[in-house]
């Protein structure tokens, strides 16, 4: 039962929570605001908060100067491509581990997890050299492959924790009623598994979109997704605050929106089911 809370106490907490919440969010808010300023206003002192001439010019400049859309598209292809490929490989695996667990299922799961513990820098050189020899450096294909393998353990684990919650009795009941394997999968398992698959997709697109080790080390001008493109602003272009802000706003907006939908899955996916 919720305790009755005095109004005064509630007001106090409302004020504190909003002040802290806005403070934490402020860098993002400031970036969004700055993206609509002119370069002059962006570094004006005192800084203008809302009362400046709003302009969209930075957004068009960023696109014209650096073919922003190419990098945006790279991000889309790499994050979606690696996640979908990962799902195709992981769904059967997670499925069979959840519904036909064997003696070694737990060991396999733990081993998969352990591959995730490998620090990327430990295999940077071989991957770099193999990619160089295979002509995969600075290609979207190469990054899709690496990110698929990077995130495969998380995908398998997330799916496994979701599938495990589908009650097996339902399957038995369906079998009693004469459902074959095909009907079982199409009419019973798939509808029950879709929410879990969707949240796995969501979280892994986010992780792949923001991945910034392999994307920075394996790409140059052609296949660079937004993480690597924004890094090119480190100097001296980063001093053009308004343009940096416009490029950043476009890079984080889609994932910010997706992210807010995936709050719950985030906990589950990133703790491998250890906290629910």
């Amino acid at each position: 039962m919720a305790r009755a809370v005095s109004t005064r106490r509630k007001i106090t907490f409302t004020v504190i929570a909003w002040v802290i919440g806005i403070a934490i969010f402020f860098p993002i808010l400031w970036t969004i605001l700055t993206s609509f300023k002119t370069e002059g206003e962006a570094i004006a002192s005192p800084p203008s908060f809302l009362f400046f001439d709003w302009t969209l010019e930075n957004y068009t400049t960023v696109q014209e100067r650096s073919n922003y859309f190419l990098h945006f598209w790279n991000s889309v292809v790499i994050s979606l491509g690696s996640t979908v490929l990962g799902l195709i490989i992981a769904i059967p695996a997670a499925w069979s581990m959840a519904f036909v667990p064997g003696k070694r299922t737990k060991d396999v799961l733990m081993w998969m997890l352990s591959t995730k513990m490998l620090p990327p820098v430990g295999v940077l050189i071989p991957i770099y050299l193999l990619f160089r020899d295979a002509g995969l450096l600075d290609t979207r294909t190469g990054l899709v492959v690496v990110l698929t393998l990077m995130n495969l353990p998380i995908i398998v684990w997330m799916l496994y924790t979701y599938f495990r919650e589908i009650p097996g009795e339902i399957l038995e009941a369906a079998r009693m009623d004469g459902a074959g394997l095909r009907e079982e999968i199409i009419y019973i398992l798939t509808p029950m598994a879709v929410p879990g698959i969707a949240s796995t997709l969501l979280l892994n697109v986010i992780l792949a979109w923001n991945e910034a080790f392999w994307t920075l080390n394996l790409t140059a001008a052609n296949a660079a997704p937004l993480t690597a493109f924004i890094a090119s602003y480190s100097s001296p272009e980063g001093l053009f605050y308004a343009k940096l802000s416009a490029a950043s706003t476009m890079a984080i907006a889609p994932i910010l929106i997706l992210g807010w939908f995936s709050q719950k899955q985030l906990v589950r996916g990133l703790t491998f089911g250890a906290v629910k």
Partner: protein, 290 residues
């Protein structure tokens, strides 16, 4: 009631994932290990020769290595302290009743979704820049001299940036754990006259201990590999003030083209990460039985 037939199917369904991960793990690892025993520089192709433990000797006696290990620990430790303490406080706050809970939660979680290169550059330029940054402006308002964060306190600045990225993660997990706490237990303690402080230390904190451990272990795994934030803000400098182990190996292999030395560094990084990983795996493994 799995039949022989369904077991065979199950094995078939798992094998692509297992084989791919096995290849992903074994091939590069074996190569790293092999390279680490070679004298191999990309600038001198065809000159590779067996070097025994020479690379390890150079790497482990290089003062840069000890500095990098120390910087890595500083970074991981600093971020962990800020995010765990801050996360507990924030989770306690968000667990209270107030208007706009959902909205504040969204504001607090947002930094987690910002890509590392964006958050590092935004902090570096728009906040920490000693001339045009917001902090410089604030300092001026209060009559203080401007502070060049990334030059005068480089590691602390990077810790701040990375902590800002990870605070939402800690908060979210601790909040989830907090919400599973039985409120009747707290009410009973309150009625018996337990103060907020003692309720926190005797009931809330023990309840959170498991979630705190998970936060620490998972963050450590990711924080050991911090790279992008360092690359776009300080490039490991000034000097080697912000060169962590990941960055050191990157410099050695992709900037100095020293494949042998870089590989030896990579192997060391793997060993260090594994020490943490063992503890994490035990925790998660236990949960799997439950």
């Amino acid at each position: 009631m799995a039949t022989e037939h369904s077991r065979a199917t199950a094995r078939l369904m798992i094998s692509p994932a297992v084989l791919l991960l096995l290849a992903w793990m074994i091939v590069p690892l074996a190569l790293t290990l092999y390279f680490s025993f070679l004298r191999y520089n990309l600038l001198m192709p065809g000159m590779e020769e067996w070097a025994g433990f020479l690379n390890y000797k150079f790497f482990l006696t290089d003062p840069a290595f000890f500095s990098a290990v120390w910087k890595t620990l500083e970074l991981v430790g600093g971020v962990l302290i800020i995010t765990v303490v801050g996360g507990i406080l924030l989770a306690l706050l968000l667990d209270q009743q107030f208007w706009g809970q959902g909205a504040v939660r969204i504001l607090v979680i947002a930094p987690f979704f910002v890509m590392p290169t964006v958050s590092a550059l935004v902090w570096k330029n728009m906040f920490m820049n000693p001339v045009n940054g917001l902090f410089a402006y604030l300092a001026k308002v209060f009559g203080l001299p401007p502070f060049d964060f990334l030059a005068q306190a480089p590691m602390l600045s990077i810790i701040m940036i990375v902590a800002w990225e990870w605070l939402p993660f800690a908060t979210l997990i601790l909040l989830t754990a907090l919400q599973s706490l039985d409120s009747e237990q707290l009410e009973a303690a309150e009625m018996d006259g337990a103060s907020f402080i003692s309720r926190f230390f005797y009931i809330v904190l023990p309840h959170l201990s498991r979630a705190i451990t998970v936060v620490i272990l998972i963050q450590t795994i990711f924080l050991l590999s911090t790279f992008a934030e360092i690359l776009v803000t300080t490039n490991g400098g000034p000097g080697t003030a912000t060169t962590n182990l990941t960055y050191l190996v990157y410099v050695q292999s992709l900037l100095q083209f020293d494949v042998g030395g870089g590989s030896a560094g990579g192997v060391v990084a793997i060993i260090l990460a594994n020490i943490v990983a063992i503890f994490l795996m035990r925790m998660i493994g236990k949960n799997l039985d439950a």
